[in-house]
């Protein structure tokens, strides 16, 4: 039986031992290093590299350095290792990596999960890790048998010598193998020999997730632990002026109330007491400079900005507005999308055990190095004195990769004030109102057509907060005043247009913003793919055919678009009142087209009946994971398109829980059909790219069904009903 070890004492003890005896055994251990003498002499079984641990009892543990938040890395990454290692898949265990440079992201220089990069970035490294391990096990067996290693093979956890029908298990070989030097360069299998990659392997973490045993951050318990709920300022940037904790302290179970940077923490022996205590706190807040903020005012400011020239992100050919003046036909439209909360099913939480010379943290995070270092700064410790355990994540969607490590920093502050192990749990309301939202965006976009209906000019002005400016990633992701994540999917539109201008305004608002599943693409795909549809109709052309003509040089876009159109039966007779829309978008290395079939009720409610999704994500590792992530991205994007909005009034977030920030429910689930294109290209991402095309596909379908163009998300029934009455 496979299993996930979430919080493993063995691993920790081993690491401690490793650090003591080897210094560099795991820490800083790279694949080309040879094992240190100390490691060879230790009782530790076979650890060919930081990712594999083979016990003398035949257990094979893969140490996974990417966080499992639903996207399936605790299965897909072991698949990469095991394609080469050839251990018995049914005996594989998976363990979350500790924080260590050996586990840094191959491109980021820190340990973390995001950008739909797990498989893409680990593809080569993990296959090499597996191949190295296998080569050493084979060398160990060959040495025992005194045969040529080339005459041995590995299969399902055994090294086999066919000529003499001898075999030894990996466990039997572990000790011997651990005495060998890892080979410097091991050739990898050819694709034709793949046994695991390309097959739909069942997720290794399912059993624990259906019997109550899976441990998420919120589930970790340690002796003497208290639970805290923090009252946050009602307005971002607000501060505590004064507070009375008399009533809170009278709540049975409440142990103490402490003021911290981010608010007032009520600490109790149970969550319920802490929450009751927090509810009865009387805090006087200094609400700060955002106390008058409202979404309506912001919209006016953004709309005004959208008419002014911004910082140029892309310019090709002549200035479009000069072309537009002379165009046979020109179209201008304004689009708007709101702030969005990640709303992971598991609210944010973090458990901290802070001692004089150490700090131990348990949390579901996507940003290990960042969080550990931030915790060390708050605790006044060195990073190596902080041990961070990554649990399973009850959803991440980017929220658990916070550049400020907000939910970790806050918990360390509470632990520091309380001097006891404490788990801070965010109530759903705290989580919903706590910020780090997908930014609100406002776009003005114009296009010009010549007499023949050819698209000759495109001018897209984007207005919205930068999520990168002011973070440690500014140097990497902000170039010439352009936050790349603000314009991704807009500045790189694939359509062949001779005159293009994309410019950007990044107003500083002070609302905490962050990457939200598919980041900038979550907004740009909606605007670009809706507007292309508008332009197609203005040109009197079929929106699918119109796109095709502009994509003749873009084979992968075209491939996905054609497949989606074909599988959806583009142009077929639909039931009365139904409409079909299509959109194609590339993000995170994958090309995806989606065709949505919808109907609209008289009350203006959009019902999505079916979504056909075609994806070209390069080489396929786990087909069923790709399908699952497309289904997931579509639902995530639909929730946002139909319902999602965080709005402000008097500086306050107006939403608080799932009644006013609804997400899609079972009865609204469309039939989703996913078609994967075979490809020899390097792997693309799948966690995020399913999200961007769905909103425009649905909006285009609504237009097809009703003749009404939705340029504002979410698709409010009232607005649609009003428009339908006018039509």
């Amino acid at each position: 039986m496979s299993g996930i070890i979430n919080v493993s004492l063995n691993r920790r003890d081993f690491l401690k031992t490793g650090m003591v005896i080897g210094g560099g055994l795991i820490l800083g251990f790279s694949l080309n290093d040879s094992l240190s003498e100390a490691a060879i002499q230790s009782s530790v079984p076979f650890i060919p590299n930081a990712f594999i641990h083979i016990g003398t009892d035949d257990t094979v543990t893969f140490i996974v350095n990417h966080s499992e938040m639903g996207q399936g890395v605790y299965t897909s990454l072991p698949m990469l290792v095991n394609e080469e290692l050839q251990a018995d898949w049914n005996k594989i265990k998976v363990e979350a990596a500790p924080v260590d440079p050996a586990y840094n992201h191959t491109e980021w220089g820190i340990q973390g999960t995001g950008g739909s990069t797990s498989v893409r970035s680990e593809w080569q490294r993990l296959m090499k890790a597996g191949a190295t391990g296998r080569a050493m096990l084979i060398a160990a067996a060959a040495d025992i048998w005194k045969v040529d290693p080339a005459s041995c093979r590995a299969e399902k956890g055994f090294v086999i010598h066919d000529e003499t029908t001898r075999k030894l298990s990996y466990g039997q070989l572990a000790e011997k193998a651990s005495q060998l030097k890892p080979p410097l360069d091991v050739p990898l299998k050819g694709e034709k020999d793949y046994k695991i990659i390309g097959k739909s392997m069942k997720r290794l973490d399912t059993p624990e997730k259906i019997n109550g045993k899976a441990i998420f951050g919120i589930d970790v318990r340690i002796p003497g632990m208290l639970t805290a709920v923090v009252a946050h300022p009602p307005v971002f940037g607000g501060r505590v002026k004064s507070f009375s904790d008399e009533k809170a302290k009278a709540v049975p179970g409440v142990k103490t109330v402490v003021q911290i940077e981010s608010g007032v923490a009520v600490v109790a022996d149970s969550f319920w007491s802490a929450q009751l205590g927090a509810d009865t706190l009387e805090v006087v807040w200094d609400e700060g400079s955002l106390a008058d903020l409202s979404t309506n005012e912001m919209r006016k400011q953004y709309a005004a900005l959208a008419k002014k020239p911004g910082t140029i992100a892309r310019k090709e050919g002549m200035l479009p507005y000069e072309v537009l003046e002379k165009a046979a036909k020109n179209i201008t439209a304004e689009y708007e999308v709101p702030y969005l909360a990640h709303a992971t099913m598991e609210p944010l939480n973090c458990l901290v055990d802070l001692r004089d010379d150490s700090c131990e943290i348990w949390t579901g995070t996507q940003f290990q190095t960042n969080d550990r270092d931030a915790a060390a700064r708050v605790a006044g410790l060195k990073p190596e004195q902080v041990r961070l355990h990554t649990t399973l994540l009850g959803g991440g969607f980017g929220r658990r990769a916070n550049p400020q490590s907000d939910f970790v920093v806050e918990a360390v502050h509470v632990a520091k004030a309380v001097k006891k192990p404490v788990k801070v749990i965010w109530t759903r309301e705290n989580d919903m109102k706590g910020g780090y939202y997908r930014p609100m965006w406002y776009d003005r976009i114009a296009a010009g057509l010549d007499e023949k209906g050819n698209l000759i000019a495109w001018h897209h002005t984007i207005v919205g907060q930068s999520i990168i400016v002011g973070t440690a990633f500014e140097q990497m992701l902000v170039m010439h005043g352009i936050d790349e994540t603000s314009v991704e999917g807009a500045k790189d539109i694939p359509y062949e247009i001779p005159n293009i201008l994309v410019d950007l305004h990044s107003p500083k608002i002070g609302i905490p913003v962050q990457w939200w599943r598919s980041v900038g693409h979550s907004h740009t795909a909606f605007v670009v793919e809706s507007f292309v549809d508008e332009v197609a109709h203005a040109a009197g052309k079929d929106p699918y055919e119109f796109r095709r003509k502009l994509l003749t040089e873009q084979k992968r876009y075209l491939g996905a678009l054609d497949l989606a159109a074909q599988k959806a039966g583009w142009g077929k007779q639909l039931p009365k009142g139904h409409g079909m829309g299509i959109a194609v978008h590339k993000s995170f290395g994958s090309y995806i087209a989606q065709a949505a079939e919808v109907s609209v009720s008289q009350a203006g409610e959009v019902r999505v009946h079916k979504v056909v999704c075609a994806i070209d994500c390069g080489r396929i590792v786990n087909p069923d994971t790709i399908v699952a992530q497309m289904e997931s991205g579509i639902v995530f994007g639909l929730s946002a398109a139909l319902y999602g909005a965080i709005t402000f009034k008097d500086g306050r977030v107006e939403q608080s829980n799932f009644h006013d920030y609804p997400i899609l429910r079972m009865n609204e689930m469309p039939k989703v059909e996913v078609h994967i294109m075979p490809s020899q290209e390097p792997p693309g991402g799948v966690g995020e790219p399913g999200v961007p095309p769905i909103a425009p596909a649905v909006a285009n379908a609504v237009f097809n069904a009703t003749g009404i163009r939705l340029r504002k998300l979410p698709m409010k029934p009232e607005a649609l009903k009003e428009a339908m009455v006018k039509v």
Binding site: I218, S270, M345, R428, F658
Partner: protein, 156 residues
């Protein structure tokens, strides 16, 4: 002291009578499979059975469950032998997994009452259980599959 019977075991818990059953199960008894999602019966992550009926434990005062038979996800089956668990594995349903304790308990209650649910029945009963990862299509398939397993030989 309040007496509870959870997964056929008896517990005496020292909590105030209005404490939600969810937190008693998670903190006092220590069974963390039942999840907190919203605290207001909006998401279904906390679903358990009380005398066989699915309830949202986050808004159920512990006192109202005293003396009744409470079943949590840990009590659905010890060895993954419940047809729903088997179907969940076969359809590879969970992603992040956080909501699935609640999904399974809700689905188990559905199948007990209605061993052959149609899609509309599933919609009616399962729409109170949110899944942010969007596994609804698989949940639906898995419920049908479990129903087939049960009709073709009952619970194994």
């Amino acid at each position: 002291m309040i007496s509870l019977e959870v997964n056929k075991k008896k517990f005496e818990v020292d909590v105030s009578s209005e404490t939600p059953l969810l937190w008693v199960i998670r903190e006092a008894i220590g069974l963390t499979g039942t999840k907190y999602g919203c605290g207001r019966a909006l998401c279904g992550a906390c679903t358990v059975h009380v005398d066989g009926e699915p309830v949202r434990s986050c808004i159920t005062p512990v006192s109202s469950a005293a003396g009744k038979k409470i079943t949590t996800i840990e009590g659905l089956s010890a060895d993954l032998s419940h047809p729903l668990q088997k179907a969940w594995i076969e359809e590879d349903v969970p992603q992040c997994g956080y909501c699935h304790s609640g999904q399974l308990m809700q689905a188990a209650a559905l199948l007990k009452k209605n061993p052959e649910p149609r899609d509309a029945d599933i919609d009616n009963v399962m729409s109170g259980n949110l899944c942010r990862c969007g596994t609804y299509q698989r949940i639906r398939k898995a419920i049908h599959r479990a129903a087939e397993m049960m009709s073709g030989g009952g619970k194994e």
